[in-house]
Each structure stands twice: as C-alpha cells, then as structure tokens.
C-alpha cells in the first residue's frame, strides 16, 4: 500500500553533493551534519514534518551517481526504493550540473515511484549563466520540477506542496527512455517474460528489472533466480 491514511513516506535521492541533506534539513528543520564534500550521508536517516494535516516522513538516502549494485551506498538506496516502496521520491538535482544529474533521474523513473524533482542550487546555475526552463523540463519528465536554493530555504513551501500533491499528478511515470530498436526488441521480450511471472511482476518494476538484467546486474539476476526457483 502506498497510502496509509495521510501518512506520506518520501525518499530523498540524488547524486553526491547535490544538496540532499541540506534540503532534508530545510524541510524537517533538523540539523543533520552537512559538509561540502561528497559521501557525507552513507546511511539512511529519517525525519518528520507535517504539512496541511499530512504527516510526512523523509528518508535521506546516500548520494549515488546511479542505481547499480556495485557499491554499498547504491545498494542501500536501491533496496529502500524497491522494498520499502515510498509514496514518492524527492529527487535532488544539482541545477548547475544538470546533464550528469539527470542520469540518476532517469534511473529513478525506471523504478516507477512517483517523482518530485527539486532543481537545487539554482543560484549557482544562474551565476554560471545557465537558463533552465523548469516548465519545459517538468513537461518532458512528466514530474513536478521545483527550483530550490537549499541553504537559503528557497522553494521550501513549493516542495512541501508538490510532495502532498504527488498522487494528483497523473502525468507521473509517463516518461520512458527509448533505448533504440536493437535493445528495445530484446527488452520487450524480457519484459513480456517477466510479466508472466506473477511473483516478480507484483514485487518489482518489470521494465527496470529488464534493463538491469541486460546490464548483467548481479542483484537483479539474484532477484530473478530466487523468484524462479521458489
């Protein structure tokens, strides 16, 4: 179940040094340790706040460049998303480093949990002369995009509003990466096969699992092997 009354669980994800902990502190009023170097958060931490009668629990995930199973941080982040099934993911994107950060956004979208995107460090991006059309970005990604400046508290209310409204956003999850004809034909076969296994298709996003199997991801292989032998 994604919704238990008005309790909302939000996973805060993002690449290292994108400002996850700063946004986490901004929203919860906590004073969790933040330092200006990557890898400060290696475990997940939780915090709470309420907004318009909704009780929101935030889980601050470790920073990862992607969601493979090569490093411990990536496995922690990924297992949480797959097994705990949060209501939504607050994806912290460093606006001054948009291209690299969007790679993780795509991976999060493949997992299929509704996204709210905080376009953080907008001031840094602007100072570098970057102009970002947030409406267009939101339209393309099929998810709300909120510009923020974490260390100045900018965008706080807007993020909170977007989080409680995630269930209203019917566009969410409409975005899909096209890997091209060669890969898509194989992906299609894998997706079909995996969908036929009810245990797998009920527990994991089939498209995501298919992509990971093609990458020869060891954890994805283990999940499928376990389900098949059960």
């Amino acid at each position: 179940m994604r919704h238990k009354g008005n309790k909302i669980v939000v996973a805060v994800a993002g690449q290292p040094n994108s400002g996850k902990s700063t946004i986490f502190n901004m929203l919860t009023g906590a004073r969790q340790h933040v330092a200006n170097y990557p890898g400060v958060t290696v475990e997940k931490r939780t915090g709470k706040y309420s907004h318009n009668g909704n009780s929101v629990t935030l889980v601050d995930l470790p920073g990862t460049y992607s969601l493979t199973s090569y490093s411990q941080e990536e496995r922690i982040a990924r297992d949480f998303l797959l097994h705990e099934k949060p209501t939504c993911v607050l994806d912290i994107v460093d606006a001054s480093n948009l291209e690299r950060n969007l790679y993780l956004t795509f991976q999060l979208q493949e997992i299929g949990i509704p996204l709210v995107i905080a376009l953080n460090m907008m001031d840094v991006a602007q100072a570098r002369g970057h102009v970002i059309d947030t409406h267009k970005l939101s339209e393309l990604l099929g998810a709300p995009v909120v510009p923020t400046v974490g260390n100045k508290g900018k965008g706080k209310q807007e993020v909170k509003e977007a989080i409680v409204n995630t269930h209203k956003n019917t566009e969410n999850g409409s975005f899909r990466i096209d890997y091209g004809e060669k890969l898509e034909s194989i992906l299609g076969l894998l997706e079909k096969k995996l969908s036929e296994d009810l245990d797998i298709s009920a527990s994991y996003p089939v498209r995501w699992l298919s992509v990971k199997l093609m990458e020869n991801d060891s954890e994805a292989r283990r999940l499928v092997e376990k389900a098949v032998s059960a």
Partner: protein, 74 residues
C-alpha cells in the same frame, strides 16, 4: 591513444572505455561514453590525478584510470 597522454589545455573525444567492473561503471554513470568531448585541465606529471572537464563539470581521476580510456585528440 589514451586519455593520460593528452596534454593540459587540449581536448579529446572518447573512443572507447576499457575499464571494467565498478570503476568502469562509475565512469559510465558520470557520462564517460564514446563520443563525449573531454578537456584535460591539469595533469600531475608524476603522481595522480588528472583533472578533466566533461559535460560541464570538473572531475579528477587517476592516471591508471585515464589510461583505460581510449581517445582521439581534437
């Protein structure tokens, strides 16, 4: 040629990446894909690292890692 041979101030384009495992995956996650333009900013001659500009951000990698990235000089 490989990325460790590019002089500071010169640009190159990634042809192939031969690093496997976790390092290879990490570099791919960070956008080290064939066809990507990279500028070498600094290169410590004796010890690591090599400072690069790729896709609008700076990253430093080891010489051993730069050696695993095949490039063409621009």
């Amino acid at each position: 040629m490989t990325m460790d041979e590019i002089r500071p101030g010169r640009g190159c384009r990634i042809v192939r990446q031969n690093l496997g495992g976790a390092t290879g995956q990490r570099l791919m996650d960070m956008g080290f894909m064939p066809g990507t333009k990279v500028e070498v900013i600094r290169n410590a001659p004796l010890v690591d690292p090599v400072d690069l500009l790729i896709r609008g951000y700076h990253v430093s990698i080891r010489h051993a890692e730069a050696k695993g990235v095949e490039v063409e000089q621009l």
